[in-house]
């Protein structure tokens, strides 16, 4: 019953946020978007080149790819890889972050490792994963996860270092136990840090996923971009790029912002 109530509340708050964003910024967003489109059309009209198609050509390509089902197929596969890598990396990265933030000894020991992995170029991880594990799905997703974990860990560690001792003592007195403490005391304090890690994480992950696909997967948006590159089909490259931007924007507005509004609703 409590759960139902909460779900309803999330829905309401979520809509409220989207509503205010829409009414407040909608006009500016439209103006800004249309000017970008106009500028693009203008430059394309002046250049008159097959290598710089205008919005109409790209739009036509977008529609034909969507109609054939190709677009949904490749975007869907890419999204599945993004989701898998994102959730695994967030989970492991958060766990590491909490451990390092709470245990000083562990932090000192693993700091060097963390710096090593933070500065390891994504491309190196991807190549090594493909070399060691073959051109497989597992290798592809693993490469993305390894790239992402250190960023999450560093961000969450920052939050875990400043956990309130007052509240930890309170939880100890009232015998919350590990799970209750984690859920009601620790994680809510880390929420802003986890949100920051998720935000940065999502944009990082989907960019790396495209590279992974380009280098060693037979499908996905990255692969389509590669094909477009081979054929010098710029319309195709832009159509897929725009499809992806739309999807990411949708996730941002429909998923991330409502979650953020919910975890922040207690703030004054």
């Amino acid at each position: 019953m409590t759960l139902d109530n909460q779900t309803i509340k999330i829905g309401r708050i979520g809509r409220g946020v989207i509503g205010s964003v829409l009414s407040g910024r909608l006009a500016w967003t439209i103006v800004s978007f249309l000017s970008l489109l106009a500028l693009w059309a203008l430059v394309a009209a002046i250049l008159q080149s097959r290598l710089f198609p205008g919005p109409l050509d790209v739009g036509a390509k977008f529609v034909s790819e969507a109609a054939s089902g190709e677009l949904a197929h490749h975007v869907g596969i890419t999204l599945a890889r993004v989701a898998a890598a994102f959730f695994v990396a967030m989970f492991i990265g958060t766990a590491f972050g909490i451990a390092l933030g709470v245990a000083k000894g562990a932090d000192q020991f693993f700091d060097t490792w963390l710096i090593f992995f933070l500065n390891l170029p994504a491309l190196v991880t991807i190549i090594l994963c493909y070399v060691w594990f073959g051109l497989t799905e597992t290798a592809a997703v693993l490469a993305v996860i390894i790239n992402k974990i250190p960023n999450v860990t560093v961000t969450v560690r920052e939050g875990a270092r400043s956990l309130s001792r007052d509240l930890t003592e309170m939880a100890q007195i009232y015998q919350f136990g590990t799970l209750k403490t984690l859920r009601h005391v620790t994680l809510p304090q880390l929420a802003p840090f986890i949100a920051a890690a998720a935000r940065g994480g999502l944009s990082l992950v989907w960019k790396i996923v495209l590279v992974v696909e380009l280098l060693g997967r037979p499908n996905g948006v990255g692969r389509q971009l590669y094909d477009g590159f081979q054929l010098f089909d710029v319309s195709m490259i832009l159509a897929y790029a725009i499809a992806f931007i739309l999807v990411v924007q949708f996730i941002e507005i429909a998923v991330l912002q409502p979650i953020e509004a919910r975890v922040n609703r207690w703030r004054r």
């Binding site: 007052d166 509240l167 003592e169 309170m170 007195i173 009232y174 929420a191 207690w266 703030r267």
Partner: protein, 243 residues
């Protein structure tokens, strides 16, 4: 009725705060022996910074770094602690904050949470987040949380400081009401002498550096007398004449 049992027996041979940076090690408590009878309301008083809170934290098990022992009358004695600040979870509503200290079955089973909220006058604020309430109301919620677990031992660390007089008075009245309804062993720290006399059945004073017990007196006021300002002031003079 048989002899009252001791609910808390604490012996602190010594308690020191370790040296930090430019400050040397600091000895806070030495040779403190305190036995609290079941059902008594013991007020621990003394000058600010003398180690009262430190002693309370030792009893609560929050500070294990000391020489000595803490024993309770029952091995699995249930503790409550009302801190100097309310220490409510700001991201949970008042009701959730209270529900959380109970076992799930107990919290769901009867109207326990609603009843205690009603008793402390927070029914209307049940779904509010703590930081939207006044400090006085947050303290009420903390008091409700301390009582809802039906503790064997209730520890309180200056729970009514930084409130205006009327709010502090009404919270003290509420504490007395809750305590009369469900008597429990209380160890209450304060440096406010009037508050000490109003609440205590026994008053223990710490003093010196390092601190030890310098006074231990019974306070035999009846409940109505505790609300009588004249009586309280008279007792304060008597108890603190050589302080």
């Amino acid at each position: 009725m048989n002899e009252k049992q001791s609910a808390i027996r604490v012996t602190v041979d010594s308690k020191a705060f370790p040296a930090v940076a430019d400050r040397p090690e600091q000895l806070v408590l030495r040779g403190v022996e305190l036995e609290v009878q079941e059902g008594s309301f013991v007020v621990l008083t003394g000058p600010s910074g003398c180690g009262k809170s430190t002693l309370l934290n030792i009893v609560a098990g929050l500070d294990p770094d000391f020489q000595g022992t803490v024993e309770f009358g029952e091995d699995d004695a249930k503790l409550s602690f009302m801190f100097q600040t309310p220490r409510l979870l700001p991201w949970r509503t008042v009701e959730q904050n209270i529900r959380l200290v109970l076992d799930d079955e107990v919290a769901e089973a009867d109207g326990k949470v609603a009843a205690i909220l009603n008793r402390v006058g927070l029914s209307e604020a049940a779904t509010a987040f703590p930081e939207r309430l006044s400090l006085g109301m947050q303290r009420r919620a903390a008091l409700a949380r301390a009582f809802v677990v039906e503790p064997d031992i209730l520890l309180m660390d200056e729970p009514f400081v930084s409130l205006d007089d009327p709010s502090a008075d009404s919270l003290r009245a509420l504490l007395i009401e809750l305590w009369n309804r469900r008597p429990t062993t209380v160890l209450f720290v304060t440096h406010d002498r009037i508050e000490a006399v109003m609440l205590a059945t026994r008053l223990v004073r710490l003093g010196g550096t390092p601190a030890s017990i310098v006074q231990d007196s019974e306070v035999s006021l009846s409940p109505p007398e505790r609300l009588d300002r004249e009586k309280v002031l008279a007792w304060r003079l008597r108890l603190f004449e050589n302080a």
